[in-house]
Every structure is written in structure tokens, then in C-alpha cells.
Symmetry: C3
Subunit: 355 residues, 3 copies
């Protein structure tokens, strides 16, 4: 009886500069994805909930939440890029170019834009730029990501490292906003009479109060919905012998929980334009309760628009303790950030906010 | 760094008689809400399951289950009305006026119709009438509700209490039934050959047999689907120091489980017309198994209709013991009802039943 | 107060040869069923995920996964056939005749085709042929099933047993393949560049690597979605006193998990045509991690088709241990199969595979 090998993901040696992956399983996003996302996160951003209001604002129908779009697009890349990842090191320049609607189909490609062997000879860093296009071949979202990947056969570094440049902060002026959308008729009560752009200032800090406890099934359902097949989220038998002995919660689920919690304070931050980057400082597990705090780190008016403007938010996710009780969430020391052991997320994003 | 306050809900002092709240986050109900409701409850009422039969009965498509409609509409009111509730004291006159279909958008308002300070000076009772309208501005459902709400600053009662009148039992003759619906062609097997109106009598008692164990994720998903953001359902970290040390299951989820269990016996009670009121006598937690028993407390023919009639049901929900084994579920003593400690729900509703 | 009996399912005496059951609650399958199925299983078979590719292959839209179709159709039969089953003994000739699309409504009937009393006088075996038709009255799937059912009143065997013939292996040449579907334009990357028909041989063995841990809510949601109302899956209070003290996972959920895991290796086995039979050798419970291994037991070209062909797969599901570590999954001894105590599923199916 012949034993047929199953695909086990790519190792460091399998990647080469300029190589392009056409990821498998293009995905049609449905109304049900949006509904399930609400059930999984409790998100209340109204553009994604009310068809009437979406249309009043010039959308053809309810657009999908760009966080959901990102998770689905990201999930497509796991099988080729990060199945053998020792660590998901970072992502940047997550740039949303096109609104998504129920019925749209995403196909995702990734190009290898950098490679760097580690001195230990056991692994290296792979840098990719991934791009999700819709059925009209329009770019929906693109991003850069770097992961540390095992070598199939350990060997000392032998190639010249190529490390791509990327922006730590996307230029707010270049970010896409939905072209025909207009928000002048927005009524305050749509989004619970919350802050508008002019009410907040750079340096403002918002603790979003509510907490969400992660159930085992919640994050499993979410991660399977995104067809993200990283083993660490699903296989308890294998995880029994891992460092924590538990399944890890997909970092994207934490992002979505924090964003959902942010509604309470940032309910008028209606449209995610970009993610500059994120750090998942500590792992999360089922049973953890997630809290969220946001810092306003930048704001920009958009020339010729008086209905909306851009806000840059640092979204901090904390587990099992209220930011109110904690001495610090992070410390900045000589350019180095030290995180509290309860801090699970430090995300930097640009969002369009109602004026 | 300025600390921006997040909305923390209204306190007793924030309410005034005649005040109207336009609740945030209008909600488009989709086919996926209906499907997810099936997955969350196991409900089998066939009008909400089979497009073919719904159309045969004169509906444009499968109507949404009014229990689901109620939970979504109710969820909208939590943020303004009951975020600081010490207790959800009661609801009444839940009157369904208009069938809902996938694609309909609900917007909900509440008017303060009563206020009564408690003698302890710490809190008071707020009475509201809430109304959900669809995108055509037609009333879908309205109801009365009263909650005990904290005062921001304790002070002795100083105002004349206003307590609204309400009906403990809606007049069956005034209840709305779907205008073009007709059920003469209904075939017995559609709903598992169950009792019809003429088979049951006032005083009949039906134990529905099946049991449903609540998983932590089930009730969390349901309550997030309804965008009900009461903290007690979601935040285990905060609940650790609460009386029970556990997250509470949203009472509406118990109602839906009991209604789903009721199919086995009341499968021909096809259309919820009204809820007269309900008592959530004891809390439910993940891990509890719910059983249900129904008493027929009234029945009325509808003049000019020989296909359907009205039945008033007292639906009793019990946890972790079978009503068959229990000496009593409740006791009536000098006009006072005492509930068994395992009784979690006592709901009084009017339902349209096939003749 | 009259106690009205609720339907408690049929007992052995309630069945007679040739009897036909029109099962209750016909069911419209929606896009949301497909999406939820993805979230529950993590399945990635691309025909059911990407509208663009489904259309490119000649489908009107994404067809539903036949495993999902089967679970929904099967669920309909439980109330009449197996509510009092002592054991679900087997099924065979599961034959998919017609593709299903979102919006289709399934109605299911079963005919009693065999009866055999057991010598213990306490129960007997009921054989039924079940058929699910769509709203155009076209057969979608039919199958044979036999269950051991309690007698209402024990009595010694008194009737001549009738045991129907059935095929242990459906004839590959008679199986339906979607009539207008064509796969010549399929691009390798759609399904992660996996094996095609000509890459695999009879006798090949594929261990699919990934593992999926079952959460309590996962299988409850799935089984309720299928409206399968067997008590053993839902009622922990009743199961406390059962042999295992735990709720049993619906065998169909295990089938779906194994099929989802099989993507990794059999991603080009795109269309389930038939299930020859299955053995659920050991029960599964929440907390179990499921692994899967497939054996190729037959393959057939389809005359006049060079884009697709037929493969017969023996899909083996294992819990809580990797097939890689196990000495054996099953043993064949003098025509008798002995299963490892960790083996939970042995399923024999015909699938259409890309050439």
C-alpha cells in the first residue's frame, strides 16, 4: 500500500524571490458571512447592519466589514505561506481599496518580496505582499506580511538577505474611501449619539468598558469561517504537548472582538481604510475575557469633504483585567515597547470617521 | 492624555416622562438570521423553514419567526434603557402587527411612559413603550417594559410616581394575523401530524419531553446576534465577583429554547401573535438543560375563519429536572405565585393555531 | 387538568411493510446553511465556496455540498423512524441524483421495506428507503437505512422476517454526475495544486494530517441546523445516567469533519456521488480531536469524459490519536473487521475526481 503524501505547506527552501502564489479556494462572501460575523463578535457598526442606512449613504447595499474581508482574504494565504511558521512576525500596509458586497468573490495571490535566513541555520524570514481581488479583478485589499518559517533541512545562511521596505504608517491622503458614499444625512441616533471627528483630539484615550469572554466554539467557528487552516487553532490533541497546552485563538479574532468593543466610543468610526501594523503581544485562549482601549494618535481632514475625515487609532486589547485597574498597558523605554503580560493586541489603523 | 468617557447607559435621573429614544443601529434581518436561529434553537415550526409551504399559505416567502424578530427588536433597546438595570422587572403587551421577511430593516424607538422612585433612594422603575417599525414605517411589534434602574446619585424620592396601565392579557380579537395567509390546504404531515385547535381544550397540559442543554457558545452567539449588549451575558471576568459567579443566559434565549421544544405537541401553533407577559423566575447558566411544559389557558375562534383560531398558552420552562418528576412547577397561594427553584420561565402568549 | 400526550416516535409495532411516512418540516436550504457548514467544519471544497468557479464549471451558482444535503435530508427522518432507536445499525445506497442550490426545498419520505423481530422479544429491526425530493419533485438523494427499534410491549417474534436486498457497492456507471458540469478549464491552484485522478492508484493510502477538536457547541449547532431531534445529542441531563454520561456527537458531524480534513490530499475529489455505507465504530464526544485517513479502494474512468472520473474512497476517522502513531486502525480477520477503539468512522463513498 503506497502512502501518498499530503501537502504540508512550504518550508523556507520552497520560497524564492519574486515567486507568486495563487492561493487555493477563492471565496464568495455572502450575507451569511456578515450575519455570522455579528453573532461571533457582537459588532454594531451600523453601515454593516442596516441596508436602509447603507443605501441612504450611497452604497448599493450593506458593504461588508473590512475586518471580516481581511480575515477571509488572510485565511487564503495560510496554506501556502504560514503552515510551517514558527512565528507570525508582523504585517503592514493593509490597504483597503474597494468595498466588498455580498456576492463578491475574493481570489488571493502572494508574491515573495523578501527572504532572510536566520543565523541559527534552522529557519528564516519570508516576506510576502498579498493581494485579494474581486470577480471584476479589482484589488479589494493588499498587505505585507512576514513570517518565520522552518527550514526543511537546517543549513547555515548562504544567501544575501533581501528585506523589503514598507511604510510603518500609510499616507492618509492616499487611502481609499468608498467613492460614492456620502454621510451628510447621517442622524446622530443611528450610531448611538457618539463622538464625531471634531469631538476627539490627538492624544485622547478611550476605554471601551464592555468585556467579551471567548468561548472555545466562538473562535473555532470564526477561524473555520475564514478557512484559516493553521493547526494551532483547532487541534487540541496536538496542542496538549505544546508550551501552553491549549489551542491558540487566531489573532484576527482578537482584532475583531476589540473592534466590536470599540463601537462604544468610536461608533462613528464607520469605515476601516487601512491597518498600519499590529503586535499580538501575548496569546489568547478560550476563557479569556477581552477588553479594549483606544488611543487617538493622529487625525486628518480630507480636502473637499466636510462629512468625513480620517482618524488614526491605536487599539489595545487586554485580557482578564480591566485597563482601568492596570498600572500600565505598555511602556515606552528608549524606543523599545514593553507590554503588560495581559496585553494581547496593539493595532494601529486608519479609519474614516463622521464629522 | 485626555480620557474620553464612553457612553455608559442611562441612569434613573436621565429619564423623563414622554421622552423618546431613537435607538441606535437599525438592523436588516437576513435569511441568515433565520438559519442561525434554527441552528441555535433547533426550532422546527415549518412556516419559517419551508419556502414552498409559506408560499402555498399566501406568504411572499418564508416569514421570520416572531420570537426572533422580538429578540432583535428588544436588543436595540438595551443600550439606552437597561444598561444600568438592577433588574428587568417585566414586559407586557408584546403585540406583533406585521410579518417580517428577509431583507426587512427594523428601527426601534422607546417612549418613557412611567417613572417611580424606590423608597431606598438608590434606584427607581422606568416604564417604556417600545416600537419597532420596518423600512416602510409600518409597526412590526410594540411592547411595554419596566426595569429597575440605578440612580447616578442616591437621593430620597421627590417626584410623584407615574405608573402606566397595561393589559395583563391582550384582547384576542384585536390581534393581527397575517392578512393574506390561508391554511386550508395545510397537510397534516407538514407539521408531524400534530394536534389541531379542536383537539385541545382549555386546561390541557402538555409536557414537551425533549431537553436542550445550553452551551456557553450557544447563548453567547444568540445574544450577540441580537446585538443585545448587556454585560451580564458576555463578561466572565466581571461576573466572577457577581452573586452566581457566572454569565447569565439572556432570558430571551430561554424563551426561544422553550418555544422550540414546544414544537413537539404544539407544532400547529404556527404564528405568534402576542406575548402577554413573562416571568424569569430563576436564572439560567451554561450547562443547564431546559425542559418545557405548556398549559392551554384560553382558546378563541376567529369569526369568519375556519382554518385558524387563537390559543393562549402558558409556557413553563424548567431547568435540570423533568417536569414529570417534579412535585410542582409553581404554586398559587392567595393570589401569589411561588415558583419551584428549577423553574426558569413562565410565559403567557397568544398563538394562532391551525383548526 | 388533562395531560395531552406528545408524539414520542414510533415503536416496532407501529411499522408495517410498505408503509410510507411523509416526514414533517420540509426544509428550504439557504446560502446561510452553506456558510454555516463552512464555519462548523472548515470545509474548503472550492465548488461550494466560489460562485465564480462554480459558474465557470457550468453550474447555475454554487451547488450545496452533498454531505450537507444528506444531513438535512436525514434529519427529517429521525422523528418518525429512529426516535426510539436502540441502535442505528446501518445505511447504504446513498445515491445523489440531483444537485441542490440555495433556495431549493427538500421534502422527505420513507417507505418501510423490511422488518425483522429480534429473538429477545424486546425489539426488532426496521428497514426503510428514504427519498428526498426538491420543489420540482425531482429526487435529490435516496438511501436505505436500518435501525433497531424498541417494541412498545415485549412479545416473542411472531412474523416472518423480511430483509431487503441492497448493494454494498453502488455501480459507478449508474451514478449521477451534474449534467452540464465540465471541468476542463479547472486551474490547478483552485484546489491547492493537489492530486488528480491519474496521480492516485487503487490501494493508495492518504493520511490527511490536520486534526479538528469538537467543541460542545459545534456539534450541537450542526445537529440543530439539520433539525435532527435525537435526544442523545442535546439533553445532558438525560445523558447523565447513560452509559457514557455524556452527549453523543451526531455521526454525520464526524463524517463532515473527516470529509473537511480530506481536502488536504483529496481536494480534487469535488463531487460526492454516493455513499455505499458506513460504520460508526465508536462514539465521539465533545473534546475529542478527529483525524482522518483515506484509502483508495477503486477507480473508474467515465466513458466520454476526460475531465472527470470516479474514485471509491474508504474514509477512516480516528479520535485522539494520530493514525501515524497507531499500530492499526482496523483488522480484517476471516471476513470480520475489528476496529481500534479510537476508530470512530469507516465510510465507503464514491466521489467524482478531476482528471
Amino acid at each position: 500500500m503506497r502512502q501518498l503524501e499530503t501537502p504540508q505547506g512550504n518550508y523556507f527552501e520552497d520560497f524564492s524571490l519574486g515567486q507568486v502564489f495563487h492561493h487555493g479556494v477563492p471565496r464568495t462572501i455572502t450575507e451569511a458571512d456578515a450575519t455570522l460575523y455579528t453573532a461571533l463578535t457582537g459588532s454594531r457598526y451600523v453601515l454593516h447592519c442596516a441596508d436602509t442606512i447603507a443605501k441612504e449613504c450611497g452604497f448599493q447595499s450593506m458593504p461588508l466589514d473590512n475586518f471580516l474581508v481581511f480575515h477571509i482574504a488572510f485565511g487564503k494565504t495560510v496554506n501556502d505561506i504560514s503552515l510551517n511558521a514558527v512565528a507570525n512576525l508582523g504585517y503592514a500596509e493593509v490597504d483597503f481599496k474597494q468595498a466588498c458586497f455580498a456576492g463578491d468573490t475574493l481570489a488571493v495571490t502572494s508574491e515573495v518580496i523578501g527572504l532572510k535566513e536566520n543565523s541559527n541555520g534552522k529557519n528564516g524570514v519570508v516576506f510576502v505582499r498579498s493581494t485579494a481581488v474581486n470577480q471584476k479583478d479589482l484589488t479589494v485589499v493588499s498587505w505585507i506580511r512576514w513570517v518565520m518559517v522552518e527550514k526543511k533541512i537546517p543549513h547555515p545562511p548562504s544567501m544575501t538577505p533581501v528585506i523589503p521596505d514598507y511604510l510603518g504608517n500609510l499616507n492618509a491622503e492616499n487611502l481609499a474611501i468608498p467613492p460614492n458614499a456620502h454621510f451628510s444625512d447621517w442622524r446622530d441616533h443611528y450610531s448611538d449619539n457618539q463622538y464625531r471627528f471634531d469631538d476627539i483630539e490627538i492624544g485622547d484615550n478611550i476605554f471601551h468598558r464592555d468585556g467579551l469572554t471567548i468561548n472555545q466554539s466562538d473562535h473555532s467557528l470564526a477561524t473555520r469561517l475564514y478557512q484559516n487552516n493553521a493547526r494551532v487553532h483547532f487541534d487540541q490533541h496536538a496542542m496538549n504537548t505544546s508550551r501552553h497546552g491549549k489551542r491558540l485563538v487566531y489573532g484576527g479574532h482578537i482584532i475583531s472582538l476589540c473592534r466590536a468593543l470599540s463601537y462604544n466610543g468610536l461608533g462613528n468610526a464607520v469605515w476601516l481604510c487601512a491597518i498600519n501594523g499590529g503586535t499580538h503581544a501575548n496569546p489568547s485562549f478560550a476563557g479569556d475575557t477581552i477588553y479594549c482601549q483606544s488611543e487617538i494618535i493622529d487625525k486628518r481632514v480630507i480636502p473637499s469633504r466636510d462629512d468625513v475625515a480620517m482618524v488614526r487609532v491605536r487599539m489595545l486589547g487586554v485580557k482578564n483585567d480591566s485597563p482601568d485597574n492596570m498600572e500600565f498597558l505598555y511602556r515606552q523605554d528608549a524606543g523599545r515597547t514593553t507590554y503588560h503580560t495581559n496585553l494581547v493586541l496593539d493595532l494601529d489603523y486608519w479609519v474614516m470617521m463622521l464629522r
